[in-house]
Symmetry: C2
């Protein structure tokens, strides 16, 4: 397929086109992804998460510059609705981000939700397959940590950085939201603000107390999460951050954790594909069924409630495993 060849050759226009198809939930995407899949596995995928206002985009902008100094090819997927990348913020920010726009070895894309219900995580994974196949060395996925229920960054990224800023009690929020357990690198940004050292101390305390890994995803043992201070605005601490991400990836490779992680990521992807395909197939079958129409009619008449109706319909579903 011509399009697949172009993507594998790293053609940015072809990549952008494919990502748009993914966003649009285009039926050709599945086949294209199957063609690309044998060519992935090269990229180091970094997840960057944090509440709105902590400076994610500015920090990523600075990180891009650092990685470029190491001659890495970088791609960014922004799935944060408040991000300048994805068009959510004020024009000034958006323009500022454009300084990498002329760099052919940097590729920035935003993923809009466009109403694919619950599909943002899937779409992001699909996009990361495209970027990996295009030959990017590093893929950064930017996301708002909290509130995106359908989005588990650890199933998409090798290494996860969690950004907070001093004095917001974000550390405690992180514990509540359960993201403390998922971070490999904690970044206290805007660290020229008062209380930066207190935030670092607080995070270190909480990391030292965090429970032994009991995550769904097999988590490497032996890596103590780092806590780093940065001032994204002027680049302070960003080189160290870039190095720490790279050394985390090295650590994983040396200890064979990249394979473990890949298995966990693939299992998660497989399960989400399975859910999607299953739902599509079943809902199509059901919505064409007499049963469904009858029960919907009863709901509208008020003779059955939606809960009982759903229970009734579901009881009619069967599976057989025919080993043909």
């Amino acid at each position: 397929m011509l399009e697949v060849k172009n993507i594998l050759a790293g053609n940015q226009r072809a990549g952008a086109r494919m990502i748009r198809l993914i966003e649009d939930n285009d039926p050709t995407v599945f086949g294209l992804l199957k063609e690309l899949y044998p060519h992935v596995g090269h990229a180091f995928i970094i997840g960057i998460t944090g509440s709105p206002g902590v400076g994610k985009s500015t920090l990523i902008d600075a990180l891009i510059s650092e990685f470029r100094k190491l001659d890495k090819k970088i791609a960014v997927i922004a799935v944060d609705p408040t991000s300048p990348f994805s068009g959510g913020a004020i024009l000034g920010d958006r323009l500022r981000m454009q300084r990498h726009a002329t760099d052919k070895r940097v590729f920035i894309r935003s993923m809009a939700s466009r109403g694919q219900k619950g599909g943002l995580s899937r779409a992001t994974k699909d996009a990361s397959i495209v970027l990996d196949a295009m030959g990017y060395d590093i893929i950064i996925i930017e996301t708002v940590g909290a509130g995106q229920a359908d989005f588990d960054i650890t199933t998409l990224a090798h290494s996860t950085g969690i950004i907070s800023i001093p004095g917001t009690g974000d550390g405690i929020q992180a514990v509540k939201a359960g993201i403390l357990e998922t971070g490999d690198i904690f970044i206290v940004n805007k660290s020229d603000k008062p209380d930066a050292d207190a935030s670092v101390y607080e995070l270190k305390m909480m990391i030292s107390m965090r429970k032994p890994p009991n995550l769904k995803i097999t988590r490497e043992t032996g890596w103590t999460p780092r806590v780093l201070k940065t001032i994204a605005q002027n680049g302070t601490g960003v080189k160290e951050l870039a190095d720490t991400f790279l050394s985390h990836f090295d650590f994983m490779k040396k200890n064979n954790f990249v394979d473990q992680k890949r298995n966990a990521m693939e299992t998660s992807y497989f399960n989400s594909l399975l859910q999607d395909l299953t739902l599509k197939k079943l809902l199509l079958l059901m919505k064409n069924s007499k049963e469904y129409k009858e029960v919907l009619q009863k709901i509208q008449e008020g003779s059955i409630d939606p809960l009982s109706a759903a229970e009734h319909i579901t009881s009619k579903i069967c599976i057989f495993e025919n080993n043909d």
Copy 2:
């Protein structure tokens, strides 16, 4: 059931307990909701949406005061991760919101995502059933508009208010995000800022150009969306906003659109229940199957890609409609 009786009697502690069970995805919830369902249908449900920083919580706080003057019982569900209600913002804001805390006829709850993937919309609907059954006259659902892919406010609320602030180009963002089509009332908050009138004009222009209703949900015709200016901070315009929400509901009732809307909301709820129950059942069956385990093994060995594997498994699923 004692708990159901307490909820129907409007007991706030029982209501809070039930909402916590919903958040925790507790297996007893389904049965309790079935008991409550015959008692819902009284409440006027208002959706309030807008980007972080537009002042949603402050405006809702002021709206509560207005509705209280009309002696309405009010409940608020905050599903916005950046909302003070849901604990996402700075302490000062959170304290400010507490001024209704001693009012027994006001009940404020936040819905945390707690990792129920894609279930935030379902959980919010479930919670609104509880609040409706408790006898609240008005239920306000607060949500961030963009980025919550799994969240379609129009399937949960009778009336949707979309908040923006002057000079952010939010109007254009609204068109892009497709939420322009879903708003019944547009609110330009912080309207003491420059460009407020330009924002009002821009919104009115876009409303006048909006396409004829082609939404999934049957939308009432004949209601021209209002554009109102408010300054939530000092209450300016909030009385008019409260009145406009109530007159929109009156308009719907007079024109029999409340029934239409209820049908659309119930169909949507039924479909989401059906999806959940179906997925739960199928995934359980599949994950215990030999087929699933074999294919997962092959993925890890690299002899099949996750996409082809999911396709293979899905092809094994069948449904029969046995009319017992």
